[in-house]
Amino acid sequence: MTRRRPQLAALAIVSWLLGLAGSAGGHVVHARPTLLSLVTGSDLVAHVRVLDPHASVALEATGGRRPIVRVELREVIKGAGEPGRELRFASHGHGVAEYVAGDEALVFLLPLARSRELAVLQEAGLRWVSNQEHDSRYVLTPESRAGVLAAARGYAAAGRLPERQARVERLRGVTLALLTSGDARLGASAVRDLVAAGDLPLVTQADVPRLLAEVVHSENASIGVRIGLLAELERRQLVDAAPVWQALLRSTNRPDLLQVVRAAGRHPSPEVNATLVEMLGREDAVAEASALALGDPAHADSVPALAKALQSDQPRVRMAAIRSLGLIATPAAKDALEAAAGTHEDSATRRRAAAEVRNQTRRP
């Protein structure tokens, strides 16, 4: 069955903006949260300096101690607090964020009373808990400080604006700033929020030339942001994406090219397909990536090229081609696998192809 891309209507999702006005007291903590979701989902957002990341509080009940973090407030971006004052919080989660003394950080805190696991720590005088984990830790560096703080301030300020259109414009400004910041993490966060926002006009047709020039085609942007943004612009039908994918395939250098190849395979078009097939002939890891990228029924026309790739002198390319032929799973793909299983000169290739044929017989 062919996957069809939904035609998203530009309508009601705009109510998304209401969330920013009404999020105080909300406790929606996403796994791998974006910066926006961290700001909207926290009661206290603060720029802090870490005083003691390995402090602890005494626990009367056990006679033991619980690790906590002591920080000095530098700026309160959301919630209440006084710069210069000390703040203590517990950490809880699966791989909690870790700091060293002197770190400048952006912390996102929730009332401890809401933590089923740690509420008892209130008895030790604590009020706050951070659910930040490894990938939601924001330690500020000279390079990232300005961008991260500006974005957090922008998101918090947008949430305080009473008028919807003003909030859209404010968020659009923050989104564009993050996407064009050159900061891989901020850019990825913005792309994920764009994706989750449906058709909310956080980018518009007017922004596309700048985004293509400063992000998608820019070597200063991280490759994840470049391809993630292009995929999102394609989903929003703001660009004719096939020529852009093809241009990226032709212009990107390694190692980023490997990610482009992987991503392009999920955006099939005659141009992309032809370029990936062409890349199968290269004598480096790009050939392997291309073989993997073609592993989708949407690339069924590439079976002859993948069958040819089974003769590559690179073992990883042969194995990738076998995987993809197994995923395409058309009769022609199965014929190619059976031929390799029977007659390929390399025993490992014969064995793996035969295994893939057996896999085919087990699948519905």
Partner: protein
Amino acid sequence: MTLASSFRLSWRRALSIGLAVSSIALMGNVCSGPTFRAGVCVRDITPVTPGLAAAYEAEFGESAVVNHTDPVFIAGFGDNRAATGYHDRLWARGLVVDGYGGRIAIVALDLVGYLNGEVDTIRSLLSAESGVDYVVVHSTHQHEGPDTIGIWGADSLTSGIDFGYLDFVNDAVAACIDEAAANLEPARVKFATTDSVGLSLALDVEDDGQGVSDGKVLVDDDLIAPETDGRIVDSRLSIMQVTRRGPPHEVMATLVNFASHPESLGSNNTLISADFPHYARQHIEEAIGGMAIWVSGDLGVLQGPLDLDVLDPLTNQPAVRRTFRWAQVHGEQLADRVLSAIPDKPGNPVAIIRVATSKPVPVRLDNPYFRFFIAIGVLNPRLSLFTDGLPDDSVGTPFPPPFDVIPQALGEDLHTEVGAFRINEASFAVVPSELDPQIGETYRAAMTGAEHTFIIGLGNDEIGYQLPAPKWDDSCHACAPFILGGVPQLCPLYPNIDCNTVFQNNVGADVDPSISEAMFPILAELH
């Protein structure tokens, strides 16, 4: 469809014959049917990249075969944790056991998880001569090794998986099983059960001195376990030891089953390691020889070591958390418990083995976030969704207005498998999930008559958390259109929305009913 039906002998009759033959075998007769035979194998599956090959050689004194591209993204905690070197090697450790009724291969991988499609490929790669009736590929779920699932790459937009490495692992595991099966030898098997109670110091609010802690308290857990404020863990250490048949009964393998995430090193570590099971295995092997195999059990929901304190015998102080020293102290303490529990008598030279499996097991995909990310191509499950048993990759916008602009993958379910087997007085359940210990207890209760019970978690797949259906908090999924749409406060359940990773990164409320409905009949068939 179950495999058990293909074994024509009833368990009761097999047992009686086995006991009879056991007596004969003990008198020195060798009978190829019920005689227990075993073979072991090991393969180094440490990911080695061009950039890390020198580090591998420097650390282990051996040249390395490059099997992975640069970089190795470490799985388990978050994005963009690239490995910078090695602390200890990752292994595939295999045991093939053969007795009256069947031949089973158990291979434990020092990996975060291994998906069912790859397990199928391993099975397809096995030689016909191996004659294995049932293959169990288990992942310890350690959090200091390569991304084999694909969701811990450079950022949340790119994958961390290297398929060439998966091909390497598949070959290694299949070759390992073939080797062990080809080298079966007369052996003995014995079992023991102990626990980890008292191995942690109970200094923290989340540590009850059980040697493992509960990182996520579910609703009403406090009613079940009021004495621990709802913290419920499985501290059982189940042990199977295989020795050579004749005196001095040299140890061939010691398999340890324990329900705790191997993640004590935390999220800042960038050295590849098997975590505390490395030290536990090493300690066991140094003490009694043979190969130690670590098998993680019902370690969900978030059963683990992160909030424990353990006493370092060198300093007589609590070891510093998130360090290799902590992992060493914990691992060696667990190993000492294991060593002291193994009975000092020869094991049984005969074995009655029975196997029952169920595949495919459809599990309804309820998670609207997964459906959303699959629909937009960010999450590529590599395994199709299915509707009425057939692959279904369709996409639509099923939410009612005003959320009918949010795309969703429409396939109804994903497919996985479950299994169970018996070896003499021991019984094993093989689950594809991170199983909550409360459910694990119900499986053990269904193992009627078994003296020793094992739960092999993350067996032949990794589909995430499996928690009791009554404790499923649907707020995160039910409010998904509001959350994806950015208006959580408009959801009727607001503000009581729990999007803890246990609920958000979960296939859905149907996991436990589906897995348990498949598991209980095959357990009943075996007991």
